[in-house]
Structure formats: C-alpha cells, structure tokens
C-alpha cells in the first residue's frame, strides 16, 4: 500500500514529535485536535515578585477572576493552588463525559496536551525498565538523543547515571538555588551512608529547560515564574514543536475537532475518522492512509473502543491501565531556617533521588523540589497549629521548605481497566475507568517512605508530622498500558512498532501501547518512542 497521508489525533508530546519526524520524511500529515489555547504571557520580562507589584490586578492573576485558585481548608490537599492561567489545559469539551472508580484522572484537550502544564522532568527508561518492552535500550538510545536535541534537556553524569542512562545532546545543568546546593552538599558529605545503608542516590535532575539560548529559544532567565507558565519559552512545552510542524507545507493542523471514532471496512482497514466540531454540533469525516492515535491513553482508548462499538456493535473492555502512585513528602531543611528565600531561581525540581530496594529489583523515583514561588496559604493551613503561629513559622522556614515527590512503578492488571458505559440520557457512551491498587501497596509505600525520611534526616531535614500526602491514583497523569506492545499477534495488543493488531493501518504512539510503567516520569520515553515509530515503521 502506498502511504502518503497520515492522520494524527492529538497534539500532545508524543503526537507532535511523531508528526515532526513524519513531516521530515515527506509524508502529508493532518493533525486533529480540540486544541484549547493558552493565554499570552503577561509582562514577560517581570520576575515573580515584580508581577505582584506591577500588575494592575495581581489577585485576579494569581487567584483567578473567581478566586478558583484559593485552596480552601478541607479541600483535597495539594500543596499548591493550580495557576488560573493554566486552567485551559484541563478544560473539557462539552461532549466528553467520564465516570471513574478508584481513579481521579486529569485529561487535557489543550494545544500541546498535558505537558503544557508539566514540570519538565525527562528521564530515559533504562535497560531493566524496558525488560517487558519488545525492544531494548540500544533500540531507544538514538531517539532519546534526537528528542533531547529537539527540546533541550539539561543534566549531567552523576550518581544517578546508574538509573538514568546518559544519552546524547545533554546541556549544562541549570543554576542551582541555594537550598538545592545545600542538599547536594549534604549528600556529598553523607554519600557513603546513604548509598550503602539506604540504597539512596542523589544528583541533578534532568529537565527540559534550556540553560542557554538555543535554536531561537531563550535560556532560562530565572524569573521564578515556572509554575505560572514560563514567559520566555525556556521550559519546553509541546506547543513549541507544534509551531515547528506548522512551518512545513505538508502539515495541516485542524483545531476545534473532537474525534469520536473511526470507520473501518470489512478487511478491518480504517478508512476515515469522525470528528465533531467544538463550535457547533456538526460532524466531519477525515480520510487518510494511516491513522495515529496520540490523544493520551484514556482518550485514545475511548476512541478505539467507540470505533469497535460503532463498527461491530461489540462493547469491549481494555484492561491493564497503569499509573504511578505518588506520595508528597514535605520537609524543612534546618540549615535554611531564618534565611531569606530567593524567588528568582528555577522553580521546579533541580535535584532528584533514586532509591533501590535491597534486592535491586525495585526502583523508586523521587523528585526533590525546593518550594519557592508556589502559593503559601495552602501550606500554612496544613500546619497543625493556629494560623497566626503557622504564618510566623512559615515565614522563618520558608527558605528551607521542600517537597519530595516519590513515584512508584505499576504493572498491568485485569482489575484496572477502561470501558464504555451507555448513557441513556444522551444516547452516547461515556468512558468508565476503574483502577485497583496492587495488593501489598501499603507495605511497599511504607518501606519507601521510611527510606526517604531517613535520607532527609541525614541531609539535615525533618518531615513535619501529619503533612505527608498520598495523592489519589490518576494524579500523576502517567497513564499507560491499555493496548500493550508485544511480539505476539493477540487482539487488543500492538506490534513492537506500535501498530494495532486489530487494525492494520492504526498506530498508538502515546502511553496506550506501553506494556509496563516504571517509576519515572513517562513523557520523555513517550516522545522518544513516537520518534522511533515514525522512523522505523514509516
């Protein structure tokens, strides 16, 4: 079959990198997307502190027109209010409905997808973590380097290289803030104990933020506005690659389209995709030679199941949904108490921690963020004292506050699945997601948390009692595994090059096709895999 035209659903991290590779190979690429757009940055040159002074209405900027970023007492606790200027990332089209059990997912229909609001963590999966994949690290290595070249990744070879392989095109790390410097200095002093007794290793984080100017993008200017949307574009977001795709004459971007399903013929070849216009209720049909689902695991699964339902009348269930459990562990660095905090620094994690189980079979991935420009009222209200005392304590310990985000791996299980449920009222079917945790999860969490607490104590940090927060499943936004890659040809699986074993001209380049989920942030592996598929299968 001669393939000229490829249709991609979704403009997230994997979709845009697949598109860029396919465009460079000369394919005609059409991308369908709901594509909510981000607002223009305000006062791009201002630092975080300047914004509070220079904006005409700073409260509306930081808390939202309707105070939606105020974190109320008793609300399900995160340690920061979500910036109102990023709310577009999670707004949903009217015709998307979802019900869940044991899972609180975040979905994005933004231009650039969920990674428009990410924290830039980019960690390659190593040989061991790719054991259940139908390819090895050496197959992936060139694509890690290629993605690093495209997006700009800072990092270095240190103790964490035993967990994160060093690939090509790493830039010099970002400038460290003082708190992170002290943590790494303490690690150097106590490395022997931490490595040998706790199997805990620390080093520089790998982040998709430029440390110097590159390809027309500015290096980090340390304005402290990372959480509030990087105004300079130093922190990579997929919409930057989407803009690069738009410079190709063989690329067509069609926003405001909510894809419902595809149509296939009796030979199970997909002929077209049906999408509804967001502006009106009209349906549109788009044809192509090959179809690529890159809408994110949950949305891609929905489109796949709806297509089977529409084409055959069969309601299917896709089992094996995975997600990383995340635990937030706030800490105070005692050596920083009484210091004035410096908001003009990189705000997301600059230090990472890798913890291995004693038998070296399990790896837990932790990101250490020194808290600076997040809103403070959500933290103050979590201190188990009266607010006035809490505020006084907070002011004095602010420079030494930090948070460890501890990630756990996941595996495919039949008890975690996605399916469609009929909605009698609308006549459509809604996505239903059910997640069941692993049996011994509590014990695993307890062991890992104990190691983190001991490590922090050795670094001169204490964990205030009662403030640890177990995030609900779905909060990590690392969803995967509903149509896994394998070397077999079973139904509801994909080939090693992510081609559907049910439809010959359908590909999954998002997390849908990942057969296992290591503890690391998934996005880098998704982007590299998308480039691999475009390179090897097209």
């Amino acid at each position: 079959m001669s393939v000229n035209k490829i249709l991609i659903v979704g403009s997230g991290a994997s979709g845009v990198h697949f598109a860029l590779s396919a465009l460079k190979k000369g394919y005609e690429v059409v991308m369908l997307d709901v594509g909510h757009t981000k607002p223009a940055p305000v006062n791009p040159e201002d630092t975080f502190s300047d914004l509070k002074t220079n904006l005409r209405d700073p409260v509306s900027y930081f808390l939202g027109e309707n105070f939606e970023a105020v974190v109320h007492p008793g609300s399900k606790g995160e340690y920061y209010g979500f910036p109102p200027n990023k709310s577009y990332v999670f707004s949903k089209p009217r015709n998307f409905n979802l019900s869940t059990q044991g899972f609180e997912p975040l979905l994005s229909f933004a231009r650039g997808g969920l990674a428009e609001a990410w924290t830039g963590g980019v960690y390659p999966l190593n040989e061991k973590e790719l054991e259940q994949f139908p390819f090895t690290y050496s197959d992936m290595e060139p694509y890690y380097g290629e993605v690093a070249r495209r997006i700009g990744i800072t990092g270095c070879e240190d103790d964490l290289a035993r967990f994160y392989p060093v690939h090509e095109n790493l830039m010099q790390p970002l400038r460290l803030d003082e708190h992170s410097q002290r943590l790494l200095a303490a690690y150097s002093r106590h490395k022997g104990y931490l490595n040998s007794k706790l199997n805990c290793y620390m080093g520089r984080a790998r982040v998709a933020t430029l440390s110097s100017d590159r390809n027309g993008r500015k290096g980090c200017t340390y304005t402290g506005r990372c959480l509030w949307s990087c105004p300079s574009g130093a922190l990579y977001t997929p919409s930057l690659t989407l803009n690069e795709c738009k410079t190709f004459s063989n690329f067509t971007y069609v926003p405001n389209m909510y894809v419902t399903h595809f149509k296939f013929n009796s030979q199970r070849l997909i002929e077209s995709v049906i999408a509804q216009s967001i502006a009106g209720a009209s349906s549109c049909e788009f044809s192509a030679d090959r179809f690529v689902l890159a809408a994110g695991t949950l949305s891609s699964s929905r489109i796949f199941m709806e297509s089977v339902l529409q084409g055959t009348g069969e309601a299917i269930t896709l089992s094996g949904l995975m997600d990383n459990r995340q635990i937030l562990i706030p800490f105070i660095n005692l050596s920083m108490i009484g210091q004035k905090y410096n908001p003009e620094s990189y705000q997301y994690h600059q230090v990472a921690m890798g913890i291995e189980s004693k038998d070296q079979q399990s790896y837990f991935h932790a990101l250490v963020t020194t808290l600076k420009t997040a809103l403070v009222h959500p933290i103050i209200q979590n201190i188990p004292l009266d607010l006035r005392t809490s505020l006084r304590i907070f002011r004095n310990v602010r420079a030494g506050l930090g948070i460890v985000n501890l990630n756990f791996p996941d595996t495919r299980r039949d008890s975690s699945f996605v399916t469609l449920q009929p909605d009698n009222r609308s006549g459509r079917s809604n996505l239903f997601v059910k997640y069941t945790s692993i049996e011994n999860e509590k014990a695993v969490i307890k062991r890992a948390v104990r190691i983190v607490k001991k490590s922090l104590l050795k670094l001169g940090c204490i964990v205030p009692p009662g403030m640890m927060h177990v995030r609900p499943m779905g909060a990590s936004v690392h969803y995967a595994g509903t149509i896994p890659m394998s070397t077999g040809r079973a139904a509801l699986t994909a080939s090693p090059d992510c081609r559907s074993n049910d439809f010959e001209n359908l590909y999954f380049v998002d997390g849908t096709s990942f057969p296992s989920l290591p503890a690391k942030n998934l996005t880098f592996a998704l982007m590299a895999n998308a480039v691999r598929v475009a390179d090897q299968a097209f």
Partner: protein, 453 residues
C-alpha cells in the same frame, strides 16, 4: 413519545424553562426563534428558525408535537402595530396552525395586565388580551398563565427597578400605594413545569404571583435599603400629569421615550392575583420578597453585608498579619463573597456565626477561636475567611513582603519562641475545649428546638 414546541425559548422566561425541562419526556424539543442563541441546550433540542407570524416557517415541526408552549411576545418599547401583530395576530396564527397539525395542548403565557381595569393606550395589555381571547375560543386544551411582575437577575423589569432604587432620591410615579405581588422566576418555572408534567390543560386561567403583596414604594425602598443601608428620600410625581405629558410626547417621539403612557397603567392598577389551585399548591415553597431580593442583589452590593465584610477583613488582617488591609484587599475580600465557592459561608450554623462574631471583636478571642478551629473545625467559615485573607494578601503589594521575609529574630530565638508558642497553643486549645464544646452543644440543641417549633 411526542415532541414539544416552544415559542420565545430564548427570552428571559423561555431560557429558564428550557434549562429545566426534563428532555427524557419528549422525543424532540423544538424552539422557535429568529436567531439561535449559544445554549447550552438539551441533546434533543432543535432550533427552528422562523417567526410566529409566518406559520409556514414552523408548520412541519408541529406535526409531531402534542403540546405547544407559547412564550413569545412583543414587549417593552415595541410600537403599537408590533404589539398587535405579534401578541394578537401571531398567537391566532400559531393556534390555527396548531389545530391543523393535530396539537392537543396549549400553554399560553399571558400577563396580569390583561385584567387591569384601565388599559387606555396600554397596547401591550390590549394585544395580550386579544391573544388570550384567541386561545379561549380555540379547540385546543389550554392553560393560560398570567404572571405578575417576574423577578430574576436577567429580567428587564428587575434591572429597571434596581436602577431606579439605587439612586439617592427615589422618584415615585403616583402615590406609590399600588399593590403588586412579584414572583421569583424559579417559582414561575416550577408552576409552568407542574402544568406540563401533569398535562394539566383543563381550559383554566391561572394568575400567578409570589406569596407576598407589597406596594410599589415599599418594594423600591427595600431594594434601596439593601444597596445603601438606609431609607431613601422619596419624591412623588403626579401620575395624571406624567400620563398627559407622555401622551403628548408619544405623538412625535414614541421611540425616544423610556416608557410609553400605557405602561404607566402599572402604577395605578393593582397587580395582584386571584387565588387559584395552582397558586395554592405552589405558594408554600415560593420565595417572599426578601428571599427573591437576596437572590438578585449581589452580596458585594448589599450595604449591610458589605459593612460586616469590611469590618471582618480589617479585624482578620490585623489579627493575622498585624497590619491594616489596603482598600484593594478589602474590595477583593468582599468580591470573593459573591463567588459561588464562598456561598457556603453565607449559611453558617449558629455556632459558626458565634465564632465569626467573636473573632472580629478582639485579637485575643480570634486567637482562641483560631486554636480551636485548627484542630476541631478545620473547614469552618471563620477559618475559610482567614485563608482567603492570607491568599489575597500574599499576592498583592505591600502585604506580600510580610510573607516573603523571615522576622528579625535569630535562629535560637526563633526556636525558643516556637516552644513558647507551642505551650500557649496547647493551653489555649484546652481552654477553647472547655468553653466552646458545651456552647456548641447548647447552640445545636437550641437550633433543633427552634426548627421544630
């Protein structure tokens, strides 16, 4: 399953009705209008572009409909010809076509003005009366609803009342003693749904007002009081004089006048209802005048609440940050209380009210309440308000500096201070338990008893 046909679906009453109709009861809901508004609408809603005066534009949609809800009308500053064209002849055409298409039931929205004794030059009321006549002489099963003044945030009449009443001096047409019986929009919609859902089309006229009668002057005075916290000065304008002036001016400047002479009839004819079974059934659940004003006057504009909120903001800011809030902070604090997410604070329990009140009176009491709520009532209204103040003040100048800098004491003094603060906290917590827990119990029992009586 049959379909429903609605005229005037995009108007004030129509949009409220469409939003509350159960779409599962109908195969299709057709909405007749000239332009399609944005919605949202139920899944089975279909817009029909047309006009009631042109029956060809909608005739084929009536074929599958058992019931027609006729809400479309020319109102406000329409010219006399327009009133009769739409309200009289348009209704006649709709009825004629409904009969031809096999429609069985007809719900007609009329007006209380139809029964005004004096309708001289009041073309709206005259035309609606002719419309009613057409309904009554048809072969359809009908229900005619005559609402009084309908109050709702988006109602044109409410906007006019609000504009008039907010002025420092109240200009009252006539003696102000004309009696009216306003009805809240949601209560009117409840009544219309009762007719639709029970298929109650037994050729009756239902006059519908709210549960409270009030004079025009008292209503405007109450609105004024909500906005300004005091009684307004009232200037009465003789009705006869005004009518004569408007009658003269209408001849040359009809379209330029804010109201027409006929509309002044509302100031001389009582707009109250005759008792009927639909009203008797619905009245116990209806909002009285104060209830509906609470819904339509934004909290941030209500003088009594604004004063309380401003005092709260100042007291809480002094307690938490030891500084007075700027005007900007006070305005933001008040504005947050109009937001839905803070409305829960508007209905606190008696104990919550008590904690709020004493926290605003003295920092020492605020500290006691703070210790208590930090352990026992983490989501209490007073704590929500404190968190709101912190959120506002950390994000704007000059107060954000307070959050950004440590206090001047050294590290060892800080630790010593913390130990003292911890001891004080535990002591105050114990005192608060001894004082507040019995009080909370008493107030809870008291409110249960009050509710029972």
């Amino acid at each position: 399953m049959s379909s429903l046909f609605i005229t005037g679906f995009s108007g004030f009453i129509g949009s409220n009705l469409v939003g509350r109709i159960d779409p599962r009861k109908y195969q299709k809901i057709y909405g007749l209008g000239r332009t399609q508004p944005a919605g949202p609408f139920p899944e089975n809603f279909q817009f029909v572009k047309g006009c009631i005066c042109d029956s060809q534009s909608y005739a084929r949609y009536l074929d599958s409909c058992e019931t027609v809800v006729h809400l479309a009308a020319a109102t406000g500053k329409a010219g006399p010809d327009e009133y009769f064209k739409v309200n009289a002849r348009g209704t006649e055409k709709l009825i004629e076509q409904s009969q031809l298409s096999g429609v069985r039931n007809f719900l007609h929205l009329s007006t209380i003005a139809v029964k005004f004794a004096d309708k001289t030059r009041y073309y709206y009321a005259q035309s609606k009366e002719q419309g009613e006549q057409a309904v009554r002489s048809s072969l359809l099963n009908y229900a005619i609803v005559r609402p009084t003044i309908v109050i709702g945030k988006e109602a044109a009449i409410w906007k006019t009342f609000s504009r008039l009443a907010r002025k420092p001096v109240l200009f009252m047409v006539g003696d102000g003693e004309t009696r009216i019986q306003p009805i809240y929009i949601e209560d009117l919609i409840d009544c219309l749904l009762t007719i639709l859902n029970s298929n109650d089309f037994s050729n009756e006229i239902f006059e519908l007002g709210g549960p409270e009668e009030i004079t025009f002057e008292h209503l405007l005075k109450r609105i004024h009081h909500l906005y300004h916290g005091k009684e307004p000065s009232v200037v009465h304008i003789p009705l006869k004089l005004l009518r004569a002036a408007f009658s003269l001016l209408e001849k040359g400047f009809y379209s330029a006048l804010p109201i027409n002479a006929g509309q002044l009839a509302a100031f001389s004819n009582d707009g109250t209802i005759e008792m009927n079974r639909l009203f008797s059934m619905a009245a116990p659940k209806m909002k009285d005048v104060n209830g509906m004003l609470e819904q339509v006057v934004p909290i941030s504009n209500r003088a009594d609440i604004v004063t309380t909120l401003e005092n709260e903001c100042i007291a809480f800011s002094r307690y938490l940050l030891k500084q007075n809030p700027s005007r900007y902070v006070i305005d933001k604090y008040c504005a947050a209380h109009t937001n839905d997410s803070f409305l829960g604070v508007s209905n606190p329990s008696d104990f919550d009210r008590f904690l709020l009140r004493i926290s605003s009176t003295h920092p020492a009491l605020a500290k006691l309440v703070d210790c208590h709520t930090s352990i026992f009532l983490k989501s209490s209204p007073v704590r929500q308000k404190w968190i709101l103040i912190l959120a506002i003040m950390e994000t704007c100048p000059p107060s954000h500096d307070y959050f950004d800098s440590p206090d001047s004491s050294g590290r060892s003094l800080f630790f010593a201070g913390m130990i003292c603060q911890g001891v004080v906290f535990i002591a105050l917590l114990c005192i608060s338990v001894i004082v507040f827990l019995p009080l909370r119990l008493v107030l809870a029992i008291y409110s249960i008893l009050i509710r029972r009586t």
